[in-house]
Symmetry: C2
Subunit: 391 residues, 2 copies
């Protein structure tokens, strides 16, 4: 019997999910066997099954939603392993890492584009697109290695939160500059809101939740701790996006605020881990599926993408490395490499530039390539730099 | 700063997810406090936030995907708690329950429509739409009560698998009758494939997995048991849909085949439970959101929907109850009520009828109403019937 119309859709969905999950896990297993980072295998699985090679699955509404859920759960899970106090201890250095990690890439990205074609507004947008670190990949690699509580990991996580806020402010400034006038009051409001959001969760939310946790069990509708945890995760991710902070930063802060409250609750940790492990492969595969080499119609544009990627890697390495110089050469290199991956925020910045006509299609392709490439380059560098700490 | 274009979409997504999850859990908590089944609260949350009342969220591609994932994980989770041997013990009675639970609703649905307007093909389709039990809701209620291993629960689960296959065969026969010729060879092939699928998983797959489980740990890419479990779940759900069996039956069989293999692995159970608890609310809310009262433009069509619902409830109660008569009156009532909920399969049957022009829009609305109503009616009846067993 032919599948009925309503079920054919369900079959297609299940097939896509199975190919994405199975492909990701197959390549993860091969990479683990080769002693390479499994995240790289999962991203390459996306390149393989996606429009670049096998055309099995194309990025869709569904893959985007699952990818978004995946990275939100990933950062929430990392937050659950991160007590606020462990970030406070490295707060000053994380601030320095974040500031230098914003200034150096921004300045060098700007200079690169000024040297390339001298368009000032375009150069400002590209500089901004090179600012925001996407901490998901690094967090995943360090979590896989069991090193989330190392000093370098805590600095990276703290710096990623600050980096996101700084990136938000730079974008607000550049976007208003593109319109012709910089609205200082609006930027100051954005800054205060974002800082207030982070401070409120960290200093008020976390202690309040730790005190409230024993009362969670008064709720009746079964499995109350897990339900409250994920509602808080999605609530703060949502609140973050209203303020302008990335959803994953809200999810990370939610996890961190809950870290002490659920510290001894093994089942909640395993339940969050289950949802995370199921959803994260979609996040990684989706990165790979978005890689699009067809925009590089001439040698010139490919060259720009490669140079932009090189600048993106070196500027975070040097900028963040300088900020973490107090840890010694190895520690500085760990932090620098951990901050290299760029992600959706850079792509969003380039999209805004594309929308207002400042950025061309081929330049947008270069930013997309840079985001993909920095994500793929980082894990093979992170592993050996952190490896000997494992003992 | 206004939210940039790319992020506005993300904010909308997070808002919808938060409203669905939060609404479901709020009403679940209220219903738990009123000592009513929480699933009813979560479905009513869908009615409330959906197009019928508050218009906060409409059914979308995203809500459908998450709902589908939710019910797949739900049945997989139930399968994990169900050893094949526990079903074998009640196999003969489950078969009788399934057969009578197909024949009685089919016959009475046919007679109802013949009495209503005398259209024979239409009557065959409506009879078929009243056949397939959707076991998700009952499984959830019994799992919440900790009663999945009761005799009645095992009969319901076994009967649901057989019921699904019988429904598939009835649909194949009716659909080919609508085209004018019944292809016996095709129906026999469908039957053999479906039975072979269930038998292969139960008699070959389950023992093989139980033997293979200790070797899972040779895999390198972390958390191997959970990854293999969900790949198997999606693989068999997918294979099921190719054969014509519902995806949730494939997921249930995958869970059952793994039940002994992961019996002592507490973490895998908690991880599957985490993904399930996150996704199931979308399944329940989505049922509620699909309720559409606007098709009932006249008293006549509303009356038909109500009579059809009454017939749907009584025929499963009597048919399945007769099949489980050996358990005594109370046991028979437990099984009968547990088989009452209809779901997506009945809707798909009506959709096919709509597609070939046999079923009118308002008759389709009546089937949709019947599926929703039987789902809402069952839990408040299941709870008291099973309640005293808990002690």
């Amino acid at each position: 019997m032919a599948a009925p119309a309503g079920e054919a859709h369900g079959t297609q969905l299940l097939l896509e999910l199975f190919v994405m999950l199975g492909g990701a896990k197959l390549l993860a297993e091969i990479f683990a066997w080769l002693r390479q980072p499994t995240v790289v295998g999962e991203i390459l699985a996306g390149v393989l099954i996606g429009p670049q090679v096998l055309h099995l699955v194309a990025p869709s509404e569904t893959s985007h939603v699952l990818a978004e859920l995946g990275v939100i759960f990933l950062l929430f899970n990392v937050g659950l392993e991160t007590k606020p106090s462990s970030i406070f201890k490295v707060g000053r250095m994380a601030l320095l890492v974040a500031v230098l990690g914003v200034v150096v890439p921004m300045a060098c990205g700007y200079l690169l584009m000024m040297a390339w074609d001298g368009n000032k507004i375009e150069a400002l947008f590209i500089g901004t697109a090179m600012v925001a670190t996407s901490v998901g990949i690094t967090a995943r690699v360090l979590a896989d290695m069991g090193l989330l509580d190392s000093t370098a990991a805590r600095i990276i996580l703290g710096a990623a939160v600050i980096d996101d806020i700084l990136g938000l402010l730079v974008l607000a400034a550049v976007a208003s500059a593109a319109k012709g006038s910089v609205n200082i009051a609006e930027i100051a409001t954005t800054a205060l809101l974002a800082l207030g959001f982070v401070a409120a969760i960290t200093f008020l939310g976390a202690p309040a939740l730790t005190r409230a946790a024993p009362h969670f069990r008064r709720l009746r509708a079964g499995n109350e701790s897990f339900v409250i945890a994920i509602l808080l995760c999605f609530g703060l991710a949502l609140a973050g996006t209203y303020i302008g902070v990335a959803a994953i930063i809200g999810a990370f802060l939610a996890g961190m605020a809950l870290a002490e409250a659920v510290e001894s609750n093994h089942d909640v940790h395993q339940q969050v881990r289950g949802a995370t492990e199921f959803l994260v492969p979609f996040f990684l595969v989706n990165i790979g599926m978005q890689l699009d080499l067809s925009v590089f119609t001439n040698r010139q544009s490919l060259l720009l993408a490669l140079v932009m990627t090189l600048v993106a890697v070196l500027t975070k390495l040097v900028g963040c490395g300088l900020g973490a110089w107090g840890l010694g050469l190895r520690g500085a290199a760990q932090v620098g490499v951990g901050m290299v991956p760029r992600g959706e925020v850079g792509i969003v910045v380039a999209q805004i530039g594309l929308g207002v006509g400042v950025i061309t299609e081929s330049l947008f392709g270069a930013v997309l390539f840079m985001a993909c490439a920095t994500t793929l380059i980082a894990p093979p560098l992170i592993r050996p730099l952190f490896a000997s700490q494992k003992t």
